[in-house]
């Protein structure tokens, strides 16, 4: 007899009765005993959400966050046993969650926290030596294609997401500026780094990441900002350990 479909449905829906045939040792209906499993499932997933979204939790308060996460985990249980990436649907869930519409930057903060987690668990990749580009003949430089570090994450927002993140997580960080920000998350060895970049710099990095040669990436950045400084772009790539392979 198949029991697991009814068991699974009742775990996530407290309105459903305890499935038939699930009993205590005397054969009486399991009642509260079944609720141990209900509680384990929901509480452990809420705990996973707390670990994953610490800034979200600070922004709306610990109790509000647990209530919000409780709604989320019932609607979007994990699709994989890899809980390190659980919560991928949380930004979209927040986009349409009317009671929090008055805090419009919350979905982007959830996106930023997810991006940081993906960077943290991304594949290790040794950067090229600091002088690797200077050893290339100048007339070939602009045709280079680069493989960028798998940890790189770029998140554009209409809100000061980096400023809000730092204000909540870094002691003595300044009040967030009232501006749109693009977050660049990178990793130096195993340590996450985060900074804001201009729209032109984001275009430059995205183009390179998609496999464009340096000249095309430069054109794409210059289209955003005619004053885009290629040297600044290359310095950023090197200082952030972003170049892991150079393709001549």
């Amino acid at each position: 007899m198949s029991t697991q479909p009814r068991f699974a449905e009742a775990l996530l829906d407290p309105e459903q009765p305890v499935p038939d045939g699930v009993v205590d040792p005397q054969g009486r209906p399991a009642g509260k005993r079944f609720n141990v499993y209900r509680n384990n499932v929901v509480v452990s997933l809420i705990d996973a959400m707390e670990t994953a979204f610490p800034v979200m939790r600070k922004l709306i308060g610990a109790e509000n966050f647990r209530n919000l996460a409780g709604l989320y985990v019932r609607q979007h249980p994990p699709s994989s046993p890899l809980l390190m990436f659980y919560g991928a649907d949380f930004p979209a869930f927040l986009d349409s969650f009317a009671p929090l519409a008055h805090v419009p930057y919350l979905p982007d903060m959830a996106r930023l926290e997810l991006a940081r987690r993906h960077a943290y668990h991304a594949a290790d990749a040794a950067p090229v030596a600091a002088d690797a580009l200077s050893r290339i003949a100048p007339d070939r430089l602009m045709q280079l294609r680069l493989t960028l570090a798998p940890a790189m994450q770029i998140l554009p927002s209409r809100y000061p997401v980096v400023g809000i993140w730092e204000y909540n997580m870094v002691p003595d960080a300044p009040h967030p500026p009232a501006e749109a920000q693009i977050a660049l998350v990178t990793r130096l060895a195993f340590d996450l780094q985060m900074q804001t970049v201009s729209p032109a710099m984001a275009s430059f990095l995205n183009a390179l990441h998609q496999g464009a040669p340096l000249d095309t990436a430069f054109d794409s950045a210059s289209a955003q900002d005619s004053a885009f400084d290629l040297t600044a772009g290359i310095v950023l790539l090197l200082q952030s350990d972003l170049i892991v392979e150079i393709h001549l």
Partner: protein, 290 residues
């Protein structure tokens, strides 16, 4: 094959080990003799890279490792998730753990992962399915696995045999070994109203490759009967230590894990639990034939 890995300690010894938590890394490295081995939850090391995997690689050079899966869902009515099984193979291939274990439980339904170890009815159909899944795991990993006895809170009307008869048939048909969680025995025996010592008496201890100890919390059911919850959030209680000694007297010493996964204590507190298990292991009668 002569490479850096050939000096790694592989076999998990008959000593106390702990479930590895990153906050204990410094404590472990300062006093490596305080434990004989570490256990990891496989699913926490299935990212592509980063600090967790680097820490595990570092520890693997110094300690024997037991790899404990929590997401295979061996008791599921549906097929095993082959993507997940392949991720597990990738981990086991580089980690080369001394032991690999999973649970007699299910945790996935349709495409959902429910993040708990859910119970199965003890019937012939469940035996057949679990044997098929264990065969698939052992064939894929190319090694024997240990199957852990569950902590349970409910029973199923359709069950027609004891947990021990169930485990014996699964082990005999699949060739798997068993992981005997002594705290789970105590929790289930209390919740299901049987004798924990009687369970140990009947258990095929010759098949046991590893023991687990952990903390539980006490509650009561709708009728006021005691209901213990396997929380891994507290010290091991004295009656479980006594049941552990009873188990060692029958089985001889076995690698013994202290599990503490929630409300995680300081390293000193966890190391003291490991030291207590080590004292009982040293006093246990010599290893019986397996």
């Amino acid at each position: 094959m002569l490479d850096a890995q050939s000096d790694r300690p592989d076999q998990v010894p008959n000593r106390a080990g702990v479930g590895f938590k990153a906050q204990h890394l410094d404590g472990i490295l300062k006093d490596p003799e305080s434990i004989g081995w570490i256990e990891i939850h496989a699913e926490n090391y299935m990212g592509d890279g980063g600090l967790p995997i680097a820490q595990l690689r570092h520890l693997r050079e110094r300690f024997p490792v037991s790899c404990h899966g929590v997401g295979l869902s061996i008791g599921a009515e549906g097929p095993l998730d082959t993507d997940h099984l392949n991720r597990l193979k990738k981990l086991v291939d580089w980690l080369e753990p001394g032991l690999f274990s999973e649970h007699l439980a299910w945790s996935t339904h349709d495409s959902h992962f429910l993040n708990d170890l859910l119970p199965v009815p003890y019937t012939q159909a469940t035996v057949d399915r679990v044997v098929e899944h264990i065969n698939q795991v052992q064939d894929t990993l190319g090694r024997q696995m240990l199957l852990e006895n569950p902590s349970t809170y409910v029973a199923f009307e359709e069950s027609d045999r004891s947990e021990i008869d169930f485990l014996k048939e699964v082990a005999s048909r699949s060739g798997c070994g068993l992981l005997l969680d002594v705290n789970n025995v105590f929790v289930s025996a209390t919740n299901q109203n049987y004798s924990p010592e009687g369970y140990i008496d009947a258990f095929p201890t010759g098949l046991v490759g590893e023991l687990h100890l952990g903390g539980h919390e006490a509650d009561a059911d709708d009728f006021g009967e005691p209901l213990l919850i396997d929380s891994h959030s507290r010290p091991v209680v004295d009656p479980v230590w006594a049941l552990y000694e009873y188990t060692l007297a029958k089985a001889g010493p076995r690698p013994t894990l202290i599990e503490w996964d929630n409300d995680i204590p300081t390293w000193d507190v966890l190391a003291a639990e490991a030291a207590r298990a080590d004292r009982l292991l040293s006093a246990a009668p010599a290893e019986k034939a397996r």
